[in-house]
Symmetry: C2
Subunit: 144 residues, 2 copies
Amino acid sequence: MENLKFSATASSASPAKTIVEARGFKIIIDEPSTLGGTAQGASPVEYMLAALAGCLNIVGHLIAKELDFTLRGLEIELEGDLNPNKLFGASSENRAGYSEIRVKITPDADADKELLDKWLNIVKDRCPVSDNLSNPTAVSIMLS
Amino acid sequence: MENLKFSATASSASPAKTIVEARGFKIIIDEPSTLGGTAQGASPVEYMLAALAGCLNIVGHLIAKELDFTLRGLEIELEGDLNPNKLFGASSENRAGYSEIRVKITPDADADKELLDKWLNIVKDRCPVSDNLSNPTAVSIMLS
């Protein structure tokens, strides 16, 4: 298969609120009022968790089909720890982003523990969002 | 400042559609019909680009304030290249996620090129989403 290209455009509606358009879908990103936002949407780091959840669902179903078991659904809980000191310029000791992301998946499936363990390992390996978070990705950011 | 904890919960509405809840916000993730979805929302990898845009907007305004120049707004264009061979199990040569993400920022600001270059370098360094994409992040995914 050829490389796919994904794209999005975004405008700042305010210093904390961003309106993103991707393939005709409008995504509103904002911060809570405590961080200077207007609380009209989830925050960027929450969208990152959402992206991971969506990816695990899709890839989870794909791999269940490959391994030939019935997967009726998934419940996913995600959390991430983030020290805001670097973001706010208070210290450069911490990294800017999440230091750790933890995900708990509850599959509703006709599969035993051994098969689900095998499934989970393949899902982790083939989920694009999990790959981009776990491994370094070239991100070039330039002024136009 | 103390560590912050961010969280989200997600349910599969279908093999391609995920409903995520984060701090009361509902995020719908889906795939186009060509990939087995119902096209009710952007895809996971598009949400990743959106998260990056939202983060650059917030941190961009924060750093403009620190550097004491007026930033009236930002336009951001993002694109990413992704080879789907690993995701779909056709080959394990490629990585699963984006091989590269490119971002072009157009700031509407009272600042010369030199100041904007300085601004951009600080923004890249202190943006949590940019950090989590550019550098490895511990992602633990477990069965509950």
